[in-house]
Amino acid sequence: MNEQRVSEILTKYQADPGAVIAILQDIQEEFSYLPKNALMIVSRELDIPLSRVLSLATFYTAFSLKPKGKHPIHVCLGTACHVRGAQLVLEKFERELGIKTGETSPDMEYSLDAVRCVGCCGLAPVVMVGEDVHGKITQTKAAGLIKKYKK
């Protein structure tokens, strides 16, 4: 882990304890997870007990304590997606990637998560890969979508 980057992020927010969530978000974005060392630095620099930093890190679903894949896949399970078969799509991704929801593939290429409504309900069922939104994804389209992101 690059401690330099953590310091830069802390400097950006002037080590303001009120900005702890934003700081954790930037760290999550930088490393694709919250490394243990980073949390300890945050705790020390902001003078917030590590237990409190950890409680934030586990309360909010945007944070992960384990590294995510290069292509994080988020299958939307919002209501509109649900009635159009999103659960089956999620299970199809599990089978295709050989991992369970919440896990990362051993080669660190993909991670799979379910997400609560990305607000793109007009195109349900919706799957996000990184920041790209893909609409009208069915079980039969899932494999093709994964292939698109293969290097």
């Binding site: 702890v20 945007a62 009635v83 089956l88 609560r116 607000g119 309900c121 007009g122 939104v133 039969t140």
Partner: protein, 610 residues
Amino acid sequence: MAEKAKDKTYRLHLMVCAGTGCVSNHSYEIKEALEKEIKKHGLENEVTVVPTGCNGFCERGPILVVQPGNIFYQQLAVKDVPHLVEEHFLKGRLVSKFMYTPPEEKKPVPVLNDIPFFKKQVLIALRNRGLIDPEKIDESIARDGYKALVKALTEMTPDKIITEITLSGLRGRGGAGFPTGLKWQLVRNAASSNGGGKYIVCNGDEGDPGAFMDRSILEADPHAVIEGMVIGAKAIGATAGFVYVRNEYPLAVQRLSIALDQARDYGLLGSDILGTGFDFDIQIKRGAGAFVCGEETALMASIEGRLGEPRPRPPYPAQSGLWGKPTCINNVETWANVPMIINRGAKWYAGIGTETSKGTKVFSLVGKINNTGLVEVPMGISLREIIYDIGGGIPGGKAFKAVQTGGPSGGCIPREKIDLPIDYESLTEAGSMMGSGGMVIMDQDTCMVDIARYFLSFTHEESCGKCTPCREGTKAMLDILTRITAGKGTEEDIGLLQDLALSIKDSALCGLGKTAPNPVLTTLRYFRDEYEAHIRTKKCPAHVCRQLNIYTINPETCVKVGRGCDVCRRNCASDAITGQKNEAHVIDRAKCIKCGVCFDVCNFGAVKVD
């Protein structure tokens, strides 16, 4: 370059939708292709391409509206662009093959306002959708942006502003429908302790699954929200404001930050706004993925950098909010309505809608409906008009079963109530609620027990865990519902569900828990027969609860009609299907995982589900 100067006149403006929906359908590629083709034909001084916010008709994206003329093109592909540019923009001939044909009509409809989806809409909160580039403050100003602010800062006292909002009858668009003017009055009257100061908050933590109007407003017209907040700040006497935006909305955050920077550059935010001596500024706070943060006390805790856990009210935020100071929280759509009320007057606004629900409401129309998208309609319009006239009815000629409103706090309204006028009171009376405006349409293939289970699993997961009724009660209800959908329910389960629901409603700490049983209560009220079918016959009438489904292949149809096409076998997820071309295929029940792919891919109707 001169061609992009403010005062350059173009004969054609190509308004390309750049809302999240259309962007995911490659609208930026369309924009680039248009610009390239326009240049190729030497039209760059006559035709301009403008990226806009969401048009609302997401189903048909990517969307291009040509002005003047309001010509509506839909579902464009990059390969269509050269033909379109040459025919329409060079030669002036409309291209009907890229136009939209409503389901009940034979011919395409060229003009946007003639399309039934748009015809019945009344745009107030969405007034600038598709008409401006949200990243250019000047275009917003040209559409009377910040005009209401000038009026509020120079001609109106804080009391006058509050009176105007009160008389307009505007109520909170985030869900509960609290009168906005009254809320402002309470915050204005509240004494600020320790050194003074009050806050304005915009709740953009649009968590209800199935609702996306706030995202759309922030993406299409961020200045409307900013202007509303500055007016609110003047009315209550605040000097700082926050917009709390969901983590899942990166584009909204991006457009809002651009808008805030531009407003600051122009002196419409910051100190001495427009030289009037009024100071106010706004910061963005990004959510971190917790549904409960849509609840106002949890949201404030999250802004302060704490766990997003709700606390008991009172004290209400109006007395003790952010950092203990009086705080006025309204949602995105509410703020976007404010400038229009100040500009056109309370009387005008109150002239729209019903006795108790004034103005318009934005709904997201999603689920089993032909025209999915975002619509803004006057309060009091009937469900029937929304579903059939605007929404174009149910796809595939299937039967309408119910509409779910109000997200996980709301309920399901059955077919019998299709003529219900939509306002705060009648939705509550029907057992549901307005909520933030999600309308999920369900047809004969939707199982209402599964829907109840879905919402309970949602609230159970999103429960912050602070109070027992919500943490344990939703778990107990979810267990019962899961049991029923697995065919293991008993007759007593229905009564038990009802008892649990009522006690959670009475005893939970915050809105999330208090309303969590609503989806169960309404489905029990209107669709009890579906619960009974699952319990007594161990069957799911809509074939949604997979554990109760049995898939078989009709050998005769498979061979005679489909000639044993083998598509089901190749697509089967668990190698449960055997058979060869021209032969009848067979499903091995022991291997079948009931994913339903065979049913979906069979073009001959040979796969049956019981």
